[in-house]
C-alpha cells in the first residue's frame, strides 16, 4: 500500500517526462484504433449502400466499375443499355422490382439521375431502410426534381425552388438553362450517395436532350416546355439498373442470363461480390496502414523503455533505500515493470478517450465530406485484443529497465552511490 503510493508519488515527481510518454502511447493507440475504425466504417458504409440490391446490370464492363458508377456514383459509364433490352430483362419472372438509372447530367457538381418512381419505393440502404421524404413529394410533373439531403442543405434549396441542369458531370458544362426544374421533394439523410444526387424522371432526361445532338445544342432549335410535356418521349437508353429478385437463390441464374444476353453485351454484378473484390484490391494498402500504426505503437513502447531506463541513474538512491529496508531485487524490478504497465494503461485510457472524442467531432465532417459514416460503437473484440497486446507490450517495455535495476541493486548493495 505504502510502496504503491510511494511509487505513484515517484511518478508524479517526474510528471513531465511521464506525461509525454503517456501521451506518446495514447497517440499511438488513437492511430491504431482510429485506422481500424475508419476502415470498418468505410466498409460498413459501402456495404450499407448496396443493401437490398440483388443484381446491378449495365453495359458490359468490369464488375467494380459498374458498381462504382451505378451505385456509388464514382466514375462514368462506358456505354448504355438500350431501353428495349432493359424492358426485356426486367420482364423476366425472377424480377421483383427494378430501378433504371440514367446518368450523365449534373447540377453544380452533384449528379442528376434519371429514374422512375420505383427508386423511392424500392431502393434500400443500411439494413433494409427505404428512402423517406424530409419534405415534399416524388416527381410528378416532367420538370420536377427530388433532391438528396446534402444537395438541398449544401446549396440551400427548398421546395418550389427553380434549378437548371448542366450537361455532363462537370460544373461548367453547357447548361440546359432554358428548361428549369422545380424542386418537388427533398429526401431524408441516408449517409449514402443518394444524399448527393438529384432525381428526375427518365422522360425529363429525354426532354432536356430533345434539342441536343452529340453533346451540343442544335442551333436555333428551342422546344418550349409545354410542348415537351405533351410529347411522348420514350426513353431510348439507360445507364444501369438496380434489380431486386423474388428469391435470392435465383441470383446466379439471373446473372448468367444477363451476361449471356444475345441482343446486346451486358454485365450483371452481385454488389456484395463486387465489393469483396474491391476490398481485395485495397487490402495491401490497409495492411500497410495497419503496419505503420503498429510501428508507431512499437516506437512509443521503445520510448517508454528508454524513459524508464534514463531515470534509473537518478533513482539509484531510491532503489538502494528500498533495498536497505528489505525490498527484494524482485520487488524493485516489479516496481519498474508495474510502472511501465501503469503508464501504458494510462496511455490506453487517454488514447481511448481521445479517440472517441475525435470520432464524435469528426463523424459529421467525415460523413459530409466522404459519405462515410464511422459508427461510434463500443470497442470491438479486435480492439480489445489490440489493447491487450499494447498492454503486454508496455509491460514488456518495463523488463529491460527492470532487469538493469535488478542487476544494479544486486551490485550496489546497500550503498547509496551517487
Amino acid at each position: 500500500m505504502i510502496v504503491a503510493r510511494l511509487a505513484l508519488q515517484s511518478l508524479l515527481n517526474r510528471w513531465i517526462t511521464v506525461l509525454l510518454t503517456v501521451l506518446a502511447i495514447s497517440v499511438s493507440v488513437v492511430l491504431l484504433l482510429g485506422v481500424e475504425k475508419v476502415r470498418s466504417g468505410a466498409k460498413d458504409s459501402f456495404a450499407g449502400t448496396v443493401s437490398g440490391a440483388d443484381v446491378v446490370i449495365g453495359a458490359r464492363s468490369g464488375a467494380m466499375q459498374l458498381l462504382l458508377y451505378s451505385v456509388f456514383r464514382i466514375g462514368n459509364a462506358t456505354n448504355n443499355v438500350t431501353w428495349r433490352s432493359y424492358q426485356d430483362i426486367v420482364s423476366r419472372a425472377e424480377v421483383a422490382w427494378a430501378i433504371p438509372l440514367s446518368l450523365g447530367d449534373s447540377h453544380r457538381g452533384f449528379r442528376v439521375i434519371g429514374t422512375t418512381l420505383d427508386y423511392f419505393e424500392h431502393l434500400q440502404y443500411r439494413g433494409g431502410q427505404t428512402l423517406k421524404f424530409a419534405a415534399g413529394t416524388p416527381f410528378d410533373d416532367l420538370f420536377d426534381v427530388v433532391l438528396g439531403s446534402d444537395v438541398a442543405s449544401r446549396l440551400g434549396y427548398s421546395i418550389g425552388d427553380k434549378i437548371t441542369v448542366t450537361h455532363s458531370a462537370g460544373s461548367f458544362g453547357p447548361r440546359h438553362d432554358d428548361l428549369p426544374f422545380r424542386v418537388s421533394g427533398i429526401l431524408a439523410r441516408t449517409g449514402t450517395p443518394v444524399d448527393k444526387s438529384l432525381h428526375v424522371s427518365l422522360k425529363a432526361i429525354e426532354a432536356i436532350h430533345v434539342d441536343w445532338r452529340s453533346g451540343s445544342r442544335i442551333p436555333g432549335q428551342v422546344t418550349p416546355a409545354d410542348r415537351l410535356r405533351q410529347m411522348s418521349l420514350p426513353p431510348k437508353a439507360i445507364t444501369a439498373a438496380i434489380i431486386g429478385l423474388k428469391a435470392r437463390l435465383q441470383v446466379i441464374g439471373f446473372q448468367r442470363a444477363v451476361n449471356e444476353y444475345r441482343a446486346e453485351p451486358l454485365s450483371a454484378v452481385l454488389p456484395g461480390v463486387a465489393l469483396q473484390e474491391m476490398w481485395g484490391l485495397v487490402a495491401t494498402a490497409e495492411t500497410a496502414l495497419l503496419g505503420v500504426s503498429a510501428m508507431v505503437v512499437v516506437t512509443s513502447m521503445l520510448g517508454l523503455s528508454a524513459m524508464i531506463l534514463s531515470t534509473l541513474n537518478e533513482r539509484r538512491r531510491e532503489i538502494a533505500i528500498l533495498r536497505s529496508l528489505g525490498a527484494r531485487p524482485r520487488t524493485v524490478a516489479g516496481l519498474l515493470v508495474g510502472e511501465a504497465t501503469v503508464l501504458t494503461v494510462a496511455g490506453i485510457a487517454i488514447g481511448m478517450a481521445t479517440l472517441y472524442a475525435v470520432l464524435v467531432v469528426a463523424r459529421p465532417i467525415v460523413d459530409k465530406e466522404f459519405g462515410i459514416d464511422i459508427g461510434i460503437q463500443p470497442p470491438s473484440a479486435t480492439d480489445a485484443l489490440l489493447l491487450l497486446a499494447i498492454s503486454i507490450g508496455g509491460m514488456a517495455a518495463g523488463f529491460l529497465p527492470a532487469y538493469r535495476a535488478y542487476r544494479m541493486s544486486l551490485a550496489d548493495g546497500m550503498m547509496v552511490r551517487t
Binding site: I2, G326, R328, M414
Partner: protein, 241 residues
C-alpha cells in the same frame, strides 16, 4: 568454530569476501563479534571497507567463505530473499544522508520498512497503531507534530536524519546500523542527534553498530573498534569500499 555465544547479536569468523571474482580487492575478517545491547563504534577512514562490511552484516552481500551469524541465524543458510526478509525484520539502517524518498511524505517514509517486515508491523501496531507509533517516534526525536504530512524533500538535512532514524527504529528491530549518520550535521546538532538516538535505542534495548571516521564520537559508545583491527592482516592494504 561453532561455539558462538547466544548473547551475540553479530558474530563473524574467517569471512572472505570479494564483490566479484575478478576484483583485486576484497574483505577478509578474522574474528568479530558484537553482544546484544552493545553500542559499538567502528572507526575507519573512507575506503577502508566499512560499507562492504555493513553489506555483509545486513545480508545484502554474501561472503564466499567463513561463518557469519546474526542473532543466532547463519546468513548463508538463507536464500537471497530470505536474507532480504531477515534484514527487513531485524535491522534498522541509517545512512549518512539523503536517506529518504524525497517525494514521499514523512509518515510514509517512516512506515515504509513495515511493508517488508510483518513482525515489525505487528509490534508497531501493538504499540499503538503503526501511524501512531510513527508519530510518537518523530516527536520523541524532537520533530514538530505537524511534520507528518510534509514531503521529505522540504525538510532540512537535520530533520531528514531524524526522520530516517524514526524509520530505522519503527517496529523495534534488534540491530540498528548507522553509517556515518552525523557527518552531515554540525557539532551541536550532532550531539543532540546522538542523545536522541541513544535514548530510543535504550528504550527498545537494541544493539547499535555505528560506523564513522570521527574519533570524537568514541566517548558515547560502550566499545570502540578500529576497522583495521578486525580485518585480516593480508587485507589491510587497499580493501574495497
Amino acid at each position: 568454530m561453532n561455539a558462538q555465544r547466544p548473547t551475540d547479536a553479530v558474530s563473524l569468523r574467517s569471512v572472505e569476501f570479494k564483490w566479484n571474482a575478478r576484483d583485486a580487492f576484497g574483505l577478509s575478517v578474522g574474528e568479530f563479534a558484537v553482544s546484544r545491547g552493545e553500542r559499538l563504534l567502528l572507526l575507519g577512514a573512507s575506503g577502508s571497507g566499512k560499507s562492504t562490511l555493513l553489506s555483509l552484516l545486513t545480508g545484502i552481500a554474501l561472503a564466499q567463505a567463513g561463518s557469519l551469524e546474526i542473532l543466532g541465524q547463519r546468513l548463508d543458510a538463507l536464500g537471497s530473499s530470505g536474507r532480504d526478509r531477515f534484514r527487513a525484520e531485524h535491522f534498522g539502517i541509517i545512512f549518512q544522508m539523503f536517506n529518504l524518498l524525497p517525494y514521499g511524505d514523512v509518515i510514509d517514509n517512516v512506515l515504509l520498512p513495515l511493508s517488508f517486515a510483518p513482525a515489525r508491523r505487528t509490534r508497531a501496531t501493538a504499540a499503538g497503531g503503526a501511524e501512531g507509533e510513527a508519530r510518537r517516534l518523530l516527536s520523541a526525536l524532537g520533530l514538530p507534530a505537524d511534520i507528518g504530512r510534509r514531503t521529505a524533500a522540504t525538510l532540512s538535512v537535520g530533520q531528514q536524519q531524524r526522520v530516517a532514524t524514526a524509520r530505522a527504529l519503527i517496529g523495534s528491530p534488534e540491530i540498528i546500523v548507522a553509517d556515518e549518520p552525523t557527518s552531515a550535521l554540525d557539532d551541536d546538532r550532532q550531539q543532540n542527534f546522538l542523545d536522541l538516538l541513544f535514548g530510543q535505542v535504550d528504550a527498545t534495548n537494541a544493539t547499535l553498530i555505528m560506523v564513522s571516521h570521527d574519533r570524537r564520537l568514541a566517548r558515547h559508545f560502550t566499545r570502540v573498534i578500529e576497522l583495521t583491527d578486525i580485518l585480516a592482516p593480508s587485507q589491510r592494504e587497499g580493501a574495497a569500499t
